[in-house]
Amino acid sequence: MTIGSLEELCELSAELESSAEDYLARASSDATSVRTSWAALQELGWFDLCRDEEVGGLGLPLGVLAGVLRAAGRHLVPGPVMEGTLVAPFIAARVSAESRGLVASDRLLCLVDPLATPLGSPMLQLNHDGEVTGRVGLVPHAASADVLAVVVDCPDGVGIMLVAPDAKGVRIEEREAFAGMQPTADVVLESAPGVLVPLDPGELATLRSWLRVLTAAWLTGVAEQVVTMTCDYVGTREQFGRAVGSFQAVQHMVADMAAESMTMVNLLSMTVARAAEDDAGPSESSALAVKAHAGRTCLRVCESALQMHGGVGFTTDYPLHRYYASALAFRGHYGGPDSLFLQLGQQELVAR
């Protein structure tokens, strides 16, 4: 990619990010239904940003999504946003023309991937009739999806099977979640039919790496909003005749929160810039690193924020709990910090 076009991409990405933030700041954050929110985002064009031009999208490089997901995290946008902005266009570019409608931008897509949740579920398998069998627990948004995109092992490699939630052999069992967490469900498939989109193992790895990066972007937005919220609170809340933020113990904890959230932003920026320069997308290790750092740091920021808010931060009357829940829920998505640090360490000791 030439410098000229990377520069243009950065400008475009900054504009998208800023208009996303403008819209979300104005939009009501009260319990909007996923469908209403989805329709608004579709209207904004979020789900066409990275869709190929041949199928009516803008064909933008995936790097622009990091800023969009960061803004989305700041506002806890409901629904499968990562899936709609990244996975659906990815599939649309690879699926046959007659099946493209299955991943149209007005449909809520849910990605069923055993690697996303560390329950050790094995990869799902296809039988001779091309039907899929297997079980994946804790799949985000499965209960509200219009289409399940199921990652499968094929005889020749890997692929994604597009399965209708009401197809035969499909059972979806909703699980309980706190407000702010992405809702999950167990997906059980017994010889379920669907449309297979074959993939190279490299393509699947790249998709998963991007999902790690975008999850890190979401968590970065969550952390930023939590820091802002905390600064506002400690600047206003008074005790002992002064703002609690004027006490040094409070200042030091908030300073650490701000510094930590800045490291999340900077690592995300470095990772996405490098990914944007490489047609192959983010390297596996850079995706593991940005996700590990975001998963660990966002939770730390939330823990400190709760401490700084005192009792009111613990209630559902105040918004912190939803951000905290989101940080908890996405911390383990595609690997929690412990598992990712272990993988990175193992990679370090393998001689290159």
């Binding site: 410098i3 622009v64 701000a258 800045m262 932003v265 690592l267 920026s269």
Partner: protein
């Protein structure tokens, strides 16, 4: 929100601040040269020998045109800018080579003289500063003025065109090898705090200067007490104007913090990579998940510092001066050093009770000293507690307590 600059959001996708064909060509030249040239190993337990090796290395770098990269050619520099200096730092890290020894000269005094020195001062001092022929030390802290630097009391009294300096400095790194001292002394009244300070160039060989190395818990004496007993300093040795010392020192502090952060990444990366090289050869079987995860944490800490360095370089090239973000940078460097050296130390574990053995091929003395030095990181250059005050008050607009 200018009261809270740290809450200002930067765009997510930004270009690398040091990219482009000329920088790439420079990078490749540096890479080739560094592959061919190395100072060899530096002992962790012999300060004199380490100093000698790194000083020779500086001379070699200087002769090949790799020193003073951002300083003008007329003073012995390379006439380039911070981006080139950064690229060279990256290539040093990549090659596992150390930074030169005359760092107080290169990172603090050089830029100070460049911005505030006279032509005579620059032509007299710069070439030897850059080549490492003259080593500089920085006379700032005193026994009663550490975190509270404005409380310094080393006095400089002007009589007939000559300052007479009396007082004591402490934590003066490399003073025992230094030819010159960049000294902050009080020329104003005792109550004048930061307004009555002057920045002076003092000859360390002048009569009345006594250097006493301080023993460090790591077994070395990298820093010293320096006593000034009626030392004569010509009035031409003032940098800037009398009474401007604090303003000048603060002005160069931001740049110093940036180059310091770049350099610490070089050095920490070099230590990490050489440990990894050893572990790859020696570790057999399964080392245990805790230690492997520790390496993962260390590698991420280095990536976090690199990302922070890139953001800092953007600020430098945009010409932004001192900022509360400098304090965030310092906290990030501290965290990276303490994480990396802490994790490497964990690999030697209980074997560290003896400083002269090997565990998993790692030298225990190196690991223990590296760990202890990393604990000093959050003390020198402004303690983490002071940095947090700055972040909160000047970065987030929180009221003073």
């Amino acid at each position: 929100m200018s009261a809270a600059p740290l809450l200002h959001r930067t765009p997510t996708l930004q270009q690398h601040p040091a990219s482009g064909p000329e920088l790439e060509a420079f990078r490749l030249r540096a890479r080739d040269w560094l592959e061919e040239n190395s100072p060899g190993p530096t002992p962790s337990d012999d300060l004199d020998e380490r100093f000698r090796i790194l000083r020779e290395w500086q001379r070699k770098l200087y002769d090949a045109g790799w020193v003073g990269i951002g300083l003008p050619r007329e003073w012995g520099g390379q006439g380039l800018d911070d981006r080139y200096a950064y690229v060279f730092t990256e290539e040093l890290a990549r090659a596992g080579r150390p930074a030169p020894i005359g760092l107080i000269g290169l990172d603090v005094v050089g830029p100070t003289l460049a911005s505030h020195g006279t032509a005579a001062q620059r032509s007299a001092l710069m070439p030897a500063l850059l080549s490492g022929e003259e080593i500089w030390c920085q006379g700032f802290s005193e026994p009663d003025a550490g975190s509270d630097l404005a409380a310094i009391s080393t006095r400089a009294v002007l009589t007939d065109g000559v300052y007479r300096v009396s007082g004591q400095k402490v934590w003066t790194s490399w003073a025992q090898y230094a030819r010159r001292c960049a000294l902050l002394a009080r020329t104003g009244s005792s109550e004048s705090r930061h307004r009555g300070l002057t920045y002076l160039i003092v000859d360390m060989d002048a009569p009345g200067v006594t250097v006493r190395p301080i023993g460090q818990m790591t077994g070395e004496s990298e820093f010293c007490e320096v006593f000034f007993d009626d030392v004569e300093v010509p009035a031409e040795n003032v940098i800037g104007e009398p009474g401007e010392g604090w303003a000048i020192a603060m002005d160069t502090l931001s740049h110093e913090r940036a180059t310091y952060a770049f350099r610490r990444r070089v050095e920490t990366t070099a230590a990490y990579r050489s440990a990894i090289d050893i572990l790859r050869e020696t570790v057999s079987g399964t080392p245990g998940e805790a230690r492997l995860a520790g390496l993962g944490r260390a590698s991420v800490a280095l990536a976090v510092l690199e990302a922070q360095n890139l953001a800092t370089l953007r600020r430098l090239t945009a010409g932004s001066g001192p900022s509360p973000v400098d304090s965030v940078d310092k906290l990030v460097v501290n965290d990276c050093e303490q994480t990396v050296f802490g994790e490497l130390h964990e690999w030697v574990g209980p074997g560290g009770v003896a400083l002269d053995s090997k565990v998993h091929g790692l030298d225990t003395g190196t690991a223990v000293r590296g760990y202890l030095f990393s604990r000093a990181a959050s003390i020198y250059g402004g303690t983490s507690q002071v940095q947090r005050n700055i972040v909160a008050q000047r970065g987030l607009g929180m009221g003073g307590s």
